[in-house]
């Protein structure tokens, strides 16, 4: 074929493709980002904030000139706290709206519901919430805390600084508290805590009558050993729980409660004066004092036009995830899924607690762990933090069937559940 013919062929192909994809042409001016958070139903209480945070981040990035010379465009859908609807909406985002990446989900069950969709359509999900671990998927980046980045340091803090010897593990009855408590129980027993010094208690979603449980906690705490409550109680049930604690006079100096699901947002609906001193473990608090966080809070308050709006840990996780994605896309020079997946590993961006977070090969990130005490103004004051960053451990070392598993998505391993004992890819969760 002559050069001329080849050129004509190329030209013809170009014309053909232009006509064929004319419909999609307008969309090529922008890069689309999907936001998959419930705006109605029970989870709207937590997830709406994350939708707003994402819109703010995208807005800010566009002010800075967008990405790869194109503007970013947010596509917001409402899965309405309905788990199967999450999968449908995810499919709509990826195949109809052609988004380059999706930021979304809160509950573990919603994440599990969208996993097959992202795998099948080969797209990317950023998941911003602390979760129970025991998972690593090729198409998902976990920017929230794994149990070793939240639960275990919190328990260590209580044991070392408060001298706690008796433990109440209280949680809402679903997968995150149950798995976290299983890990914690195994961890505590490995540390020499006797099984009779551990009390485990589950309550239904939205439980509002805490009288019996709080008095049980008081009873359990009167055995002459320092007692603490480790709470994995889900958002909504926390307000009546803390109100009952306050009314029954359970003081943080006597029986401290450390919570993994209570942040600034949950405390906003509550008078915190009787709760001063109760604890929470997160990777970020609004009260963290550094310039980038001050800037973030200022932008957030301006964006929501509300001086009282607070920031919280999952928002920071989206901040980290979004910036990592920007950096990876720039590195890859394209929004193509496979290229971005490769470029993501090793990307480092500043977090808001004053450090650099890095995406590890197991698709989890490095974070500092902060322990904060509740203050009378509804904020937390950091009383302890890990000296360095902690790497998210996806497969817990304290559960017998996952301690041999590791995840590494770099070639040549490219496996989310590699069993180091058998040397084969594929174990639990495959």
């Amino acid at each position: 074929m002559s050069i001329k013919a080849r050129a004509t062929g190329a030209l013809l192909a170009a014309i053909l493709s232009t006509t064929a994809f004319h419909g999609a042409f307008a969309a090529d001016d922008t890069i689309k980002v999907g936001i998959l958070h419930s705006l109605s139903g029970t989870m709207a209480i937590s997830e709406t904030t994350l939708k707003d945070a994402m819109l703010m981040l995208i807005d800010e990035q566009n002010k800075k000139g967008g990405l790869l010379g194109k503007k970013l465009e947010a596509v917001v859908v409402d899965p309405a706290s309905d788990w199967p609807l999450f999968a449908e909406k995810a499919r709509e985002l990826v195949s109809v709206n052609k988004v380059s990446a999706v930021f979304g989900c809160w509950t573990s069950v919603s994440r599990k519901s969208v996993l097959p969709v992202f795998e099948e359509l080969n797209s990317i999900l950023f998941y911003p919430v602390q979760y129970e671990g025991e998972e690593s998927q090729r198409n998902v980046f976990y920017t929230g805390a794994a149990p070793n980045q939240q639960a275990i340091p919190a328990v260590d803090y209580l044991a070392e600084n408060e001298g706690v010897e008796r433990w109440v593990l209280a949680g809402t009855d679903y997968v995150y508290p149950r798995t976290t408590n299983k890990i914690l129980e195994a961890y505590l027993i490995s540390k020499g805590v006797k099984p009779e010094d551990i009390m485990i208690n589950y309550t239904p979603f939205g439980h509002s009558d805490w009288q019996t449980i709080v008095s049980d906690i008081k009873k359990f705490g009167s055995a002459g050993k320092k007692t603490a409550v480790v709470s994995t109680i889900n958002g909504d049930a926390n307000v009546p729980f803390y109100k009952e604690l306050g009314n029954q006079g359970v003081k943080a100096e006597d029986i401290p409660v450390v919570a993994f699901s209570v942040g600034e947002e949950e405390l906003a609906g509550l008078d915190t004066t009787p709760l001063v001193g109760h604890l929470a473990a997160w990777n970020y608090f609004q009260s963290v004092d550094n310039p980038s966080n001050a800037e973030f809070i200022k932008t957030w308050k301006a964006f929501t036009k509300n001086e009282k709006r607070v920031t919280n840990d999952p928002m920071e996780a989206h901040y980290i995830g979004f910036n990592m994605w920007l950096k990876a896309v720039e590195k890859a020079g394209t929004t193509d899924t496979d290229a971005v997946l490769d470029a993501m590993i090793g990307v480092s961006v500043p977090n808001l607690s004053g450090g650099l977070s890095t995406m590890m090969p197991n698709h989890h990130i490095t974070k500092p762990v902060l322990i904060g005490e509740i203050q009378a103004d509804g904020q937390f004051e950091t009383v302890w933090e890990t000296p360095g960053l902690v790497v998210g451990d996806e497969w817990s070392d304290f559960l017998p069937d996952s301690k041999d598993l590791i995840a590494d998505w770099r070639a040549p391993m490219s496996c989310g559940n590699f069993n180091v004992a058998t040397g084969k890819c594929g174990g639990k969760g495959s």
């Binding site: 705006l39 109605s40 029970t42 709207a44 209480i45 709406t48 904030t49 600084n161 408060e162 009855d173 208690n201 589950y202 309550t203 239904p204 939205g206 439980h207 509002s208 009558d209 009288q211 019996t212 449980i213 008095s215 049980d216 008081k218 009873k219 705490g221 009167s222 055995a223 002459g224 050993k225 909504d236 307000v239 009546p240 109100k243 009952e244 306050g246 009314n247 029954q248 006079g249 943080a252 100096e253 006597d254 401290p256 947002e265 949950e266 906003a268 609906g269 509550l270 008078d271 009787p274 001063v276 001193g277 604890l279 005490e373 203050q375 009378a376 004051e381 009383v383």
Partner: protein
């Protein structure tokens, strides 16, 4: 000679001056020591500050009490420029400084120029113990009682001396009782002779209660062999007592849960029970009542902060009016077209409930709103071995009052008579000249208004969020169906029965299984008695 005289005089003056200075200096040095010690709190780590507070407590000087109290409240700040530590009060964007030892005003300072002296639980505990020792001799009996209770919670051999001194001078019998117990507790952890410890154990056992159990179990692990049998029988004795109280406590919790169920269900007892409308939007009426409370409190907070204690009293009639009006509109606009078609009513009211939820979410936002408890609804008191929280007590009283009001309205007023007439035999009532459509509308508005009042009460114990109503709708229907449709007394008995049953199952089965068991029991019960506890009898039932 005058010069000599003057010389002598000057000499005397000098000596006198020297004496005064030395006396002053020792005093000043003590104050100086305290000040350096207080200033050292700034910038210290938690562990260092714990030691510092203990050292301050050892001086026994009551002057440090305000500084320690401020530290425990998080009001102690260090000035960055000179390292001085002050107690601060917020004044606009600045802080007003107060001298930590003398309590004198010390000017104002920008927030950025000060650094907070951080406090954590461990430090607060040490401060509490220190304050307990320092305030044991206070002239105020209330402060002494608190001090004695503090020592009781953190007994140590060091406080024995202070306790003995305090006991000798104590006249108030309540304080004396706590002091004696605190002394016994401190003896248990000291290295006093066995005889004295035995007496202490007897004192602790005699007073009973959960804290005694805690003291004894704590002592058991480190006790001398000869003391063990004493402690063990003591523990047994207290546990037997507590088991009895535990049953009482369960009944109280059950009554309290029952009163919440009664409040949630009582409006439904009218709309569903009396009128027969399957009203799925009932929970949202409760939610609207709670939001009315929130709005009222918000206005009071911003404009009339002194009236906060009255916020609930103001919110009650408003909530009734707001939800009553919504109910009226709902009946006139939707439900009246659907009488006699239960399935359509169910779907329509469910749709209304979704609309109301999303409307509230759009207006107020999806997050929880803060509804404060007035001071008379916070805290708890001890009644023998029972812990009774004020908010629960008031809710029981309130639910019974609402019930009495409703019963009076239905049985003793012309409006109630018309309502009952219309629901029992519509055509006959209509022929007697009763305007049945309006009676329907008003009855539905009444039921909705009562739900709104319930919302005011429930805002005190639960989240105020758009989802508030969903948590109560199932329970409400359960209570009304269980109690017997169309009978208010049935709702009362049903609510308290379910409450108590739930609370007796919960300690054995856990909250999740307890709830399931209650549901299973209700299903079995309905199989046996389809019309609930108190079934309406007679011809009216079939009409």
């Amino acid at each position: 000679m005058p010069t000599r005289l003057i010389h002598r005089f000057l000499q005397c003056l000098l000596i006198a001056f020297c004496v005064v200075v030395t006396v002053l200096a020792t005093d000043l040095r003590a104050a100086d020591d305290l000040r350096t010690m207080v200033n050292a709190l700034g910038g210290g780590s938690f562990q260092e500050n714990q030691k510092q507070v203990e050292a301050l407590a050892k001086t026994g000087d009551p002057k440090i009490v305000p500084a320690l109290e401020a530290l425990s409240e998080g009001d102690l700040y260090q000035r960055k420029s000179d390292g001085m530590v002050f107690i601060v009060k917020p004044a606009g964007s600045n802080f007003k400084l107060v001298d930590a030892l003398t309590g004198d005003a010390a000017g104002e300072e920008a927030k950025a120029a000060l650094e907070k002296v951080k406090v954590n639980n461990g430090l607060r505990r040490v401060i509490r113990a220190a304050l307990g020792g320092l305030t044991l001799m206070s002239p105020d009996a209330g402060v002494r009682l608190q001090a004695a209770q503090t020592i009781l919670r953190t007994p140590s051999a060091d406080s024995l001396e202070g306790l003995d001194a305090a006991l000798a001078g104590e006249t108030d019998s309540a304080v004396k009782a706590v002091l004696e117990k605190a002394r016994a507790a401190s003896v248990l952890v000291s290295d006093r002779p066995v005889e004295e410890k035995k007496a202490a154990i007897a004192t602790v056992v005699q007073t009973g209660g959960r804290d005694s159990l805690s003291l004894l179990s704590g002592a058991l692990s480190s006790a001398d062999e000869s003391l063990r049998p004493d402690i063990e029988t003591g523990i047994q004795q207290i546990e037997d007592q507590l088991a009895l109280w535990a049953a009482g406590q369960n009944i109280w919790y059950g009554l309290s849960l029952g009163s919440v169920l009664l409040l949630a269900a009582i409006g439904l007892a009218i709309t569903f029970g009396v009128m027969g409308i399957i009203n799925m939007a009932h929970g949202e009426m409760v939610m609207l009542g709670a939001y009315t409370t929130f709005v009222v409190q918000e206005i009071i907070r911003n404009s009339y902060p002194d009236a906060f204690a009255w916020s609930l009293a103001i919110a009650l009639p408003l909530a009734f009016l707001v939800t009553g009006a919504v109910g009226l509109v709902m009946e006139r606009g939707i439900i009246r077209f659907l009488y006699g078609r239960p399935l359509e009513t169910l779907l329509a009211t469910w749709g209304v409930s979704l609309i109301l939820q999303q409307a509230v979410r759009s207006i107020f936002g999806p997050t929880n709103q803060e509804v404060g408890n007035p001071s008379w609804m916070s805290g708890a008191f001890e009644l023998g071995g029972l812990t009774v929280t004020w908010n629960r007590l008031w809710i029981i009283v309130f639910s019974l009052a609402v019930f009495a009001f409703l019963l009076f309205l239905l049985k003793k007023t012309p409006m109630g008579l018309q309502m009952r007439a219309v629901t029992q035999n519509r055509r006959m009532a209509s022929s007697m000249g009763i305007r049945t459509p309006w009676v329907d509308a008003l009855t539905f508005a009444l039921g909705s208004g009562i739900a709104g009042i319930a919302g005011v009460a429930l805002s005190q114990i639960d989240n105020v969020s758009p989802n508030l109503g969903q948590g109560y709708i199932i329970d409400s229907f359960m209570v009304v169906v269980f109690g017997g449709v169309g009978n208010l007394w049935g709702t009362l008995v049903g609510a308290f029965t379910l409450g108590i049953l739930n609370k007796f199952l919960e300690p054995y089965a856990g909250a999740v299984l307890g709830k399931i068991l209650v549901l299973v029991l209700i299903i079995l019960f309905i199989q046996k008695r389809p019309r609930g506890l108190f079934a309406l009898k007679g011809r009216a039932v079939e009409a």
